[in-house]
Symmetry: C2
Subunit: 396 residues, 2 copies
């Protein structure tokens, strides 16, 4: 049976990371390629207790249909939390609970983007979001990532010359895949450009609450005076990704449309998990949990970076993440990235080829992404040693 796929669907392929991830689950493989939060950071005892209580006290409400906008007490709690901590909920804003932040990218693009319209993104950027945009038939235009965030000249040039730009997608904190953080100045400048050209910003902040080093910086959304910034948040990195609970904060006009679209997509987000998230925020010590989680990531990142430097200092450039799960490594010109990644795979070490994160996947790339949250300490130590062995085949 041959199916005639829609134009939008025809262009969508399983993410390149998936192929690598298949290798990652092979026995003995060291998974620097994954993007999983550390299992030891899940508050499993609290979640088990809370869940048990919910299913005892209000089983029918926890299992019945619910509203598309999301569990009202959770929305109110998030408005309060995000307002106090990040200054992001404005009078004109509304919150909708989504199936992870992934659904925010999907629905924002669906709401705003016709086939052939342009979405501007960082280059490189998170492949899951890029694929969501591709699935709407969007043309992706990348803006190179500099150490302090996206190149503003490139951004303005696109804003100025491309009349089909629908929004700019950015991950200001500990970006996936680079681990880079946008400076405060640049956040303000990006917002100013959005206002100047009247182009919305989709600010994706999955790692915001994982900063384990350096100073907190305000969200771009906190500058928003006219409803141009859409904020995507999630419990995936701070509580549990398997629950698939995220949220979107945006101007009510846009959120109302997104509610109508979400209704056609999955009716509402799993209600038991929304209640778990709510109870976790209100009945457990959320700040103590975040501190515990940051301690884990600070330690794992430091171990991974020092093991990396042991073998690769002066050979492979890398970023120094202050939060999140990833670092970005740049090989010298003399080493072919895909050959290096494949050599590593042969030695049972998986990293993700940088090409997976490019708006234009066919562009040249000498980078790869490593993750330090998934492998165990032993795997990090062993994995870096093997990565160094893989490197021995190449001339540096």
């Amino acid at each position: 049976m041959d199916f005639l796929f829609s134009d939008n669907a025809a262009g969508v392929k399983p993410s390149a990371i998936r192929e690598i991830l298949k290798h990652s689950s092979e026995p003995g493989m060291i998974p620097f390629s994954a993007g999983n939060p550390a299992g030891e950071a899940f508050p499993v005892a609290d979640i088990a207790r809370i869940t048990n209580e919910i299913l005892k006290k209000e089983p029918v409400a926890a299992l019945q249909y619910s509203v598309t906008e999301g569990f009202m007490p959770l929305r109110e709690k998030l408005a309060d939390y995000m307002g106090k901590k990040h200054g992001v909920v404005k009078d004109f804003d509304k919150i909708i609970i989504t199936a992870g932040a992934q659904q925010v990218m999907n629905l924002t693009a669906k709401a705003l983007c016709n086939r052939g319209d342009t979405i501007v993104c960082e280059n490189p950027s998170f492949v899951g979001s890029l694929n969501a945009f591709r699935s709407m038939g969007a043309v992706l235009k990348g803006v190179d990532m500099l150490p302090d965030g996206p190149d503003l000249d490139q951004l303005e040039e696109i804003f100025k010359t491309d009349k089909k730009v629908r929004f700019f997608y950015t991950i200001p904190n500990f970006q996936n895949p680079t681990g880079l953080t946008m400076s405060l100045e640049k956040r303000k400048a990006v917002y100013a450009l959005a206002v100047k050209y009247n182009i919305p910003i989709l600010e994706d902040n999955p790692y915001g609450d994982t900063r384990f080093k350096g100073e907190e910086l305000p969200c771009i959304k906190s500058f928003d005076e006219c409803g141009l910034v859409v904020y995507a948040g999630t419990f995936s990195k701070v509580l549990s990704p398997g629950m698939r609970v995220g949220f979107m904060i945006g101007h009510s006009t846009l959120v109302d449309k997104v509610v109508a679209l979400k209704q056609t997509q999955d009716v509402h987000t799993n209600i038991l998990s929304q209640k778990i998230a709510y109870d976790f925020m209100t009945k457990c010590d959320y700040e103590a949990h975040l501190k515990m989680l940051k301690d884990i990531y600070r330690r794992k990142a430091a171990l991974c970076m020092s093991e990396f430097d042991k073998y690769f200092e002066g050979k492979i450039e890398r970023t120094s993440p202050e939060g999140g799960l990833f670092a970005w490594c740049t090989l010298p010109e003399s080493v072919d990235m895909l050959s290096f990644v494949n050599e590593a795979l042969k030695l049972k070490v998986a990293v993700v080829p940088g090409t997976a994160f490019l708006p234009d996947e066919s562009a040249k790339c000498s980078c790869f992404r490593i993750n330090y949250s998934t492998p165990s300490d032993e795997q990090i130590i062993e994995g870096m040693k093997k990565l160094a062995q893989a490197g021995e085949k190449f001339k540096w």
Copy 2:
């Protein structure tokens, strides 16, 4: 802030049912308008016990990222169950776990339908699916529902003359909103037409396992020899709708594409709920649960129909559902349907105006939908009395 919405999104509005449902939640309102499974049919003790066990035994796996295709043991169990019970999994088929059956409609339309393409549906049909198709920019063409299913002449006429038909959407068992069931002959004839014109069928069977009267009929998918039939199933009506766990069975070529699309939408379905569904199917007495559930619906449907007939026999025609949650009522020409529904609302009885379910919402309609699973027995008795009072304003 004004947003320029995409062409597809611009046409999507919150479902008309939602407006009625807002009234339904007003204090004292009798909710014949809802579509909720009866809360008393939820196996709450089993679910609480299973969930507790999962979070004790394998908390990290129940909270971590999972694969887009869905929890493998659940897919295998469903393949086994659906094969044995409904004969629906063919060699060329694959299963994907989705966020309810709603996501099957959304992703099938997304995979197959460009803006301006035609989707053929029953007239009337489930508004949630129609809105999913509308959100892809599909043109909906309705085929009138007869007592034994859709009008075959109309169906063939559309298949023959419209070259942009992408698939035919049908709910053969206890259809929402009519409660009607497609005859065996018609199931075969519909499949034969699909083969003749090489047009896929999307068979939505949310209520299949709720038959409380009459003989089981084979699914259209069970006749499928060439991969033309896509089957949508769900745990929403038999276990819990709030869990948002459904599934799609279809030709592997199509399911592979749907997997890639789902990945861009929500990465994967809530994994804890997938594990709950699996454990419920394998560790609890699933058949005994279905029997209990059917007993509840048989009783509630009988009560609702007899109370209805007490006041409306010879005045309002109604269908006689053998399963599912709904009956469809047709007012005489002399009574204006919307006036009747509004009179009922004034007396605190909510039913859904039939127009909500029409492919062409502006068409004339003298029908309304009633649900018997949500109201309590007392509410059913009181509600029908009030509905009769509302009717007193009209000439019959």
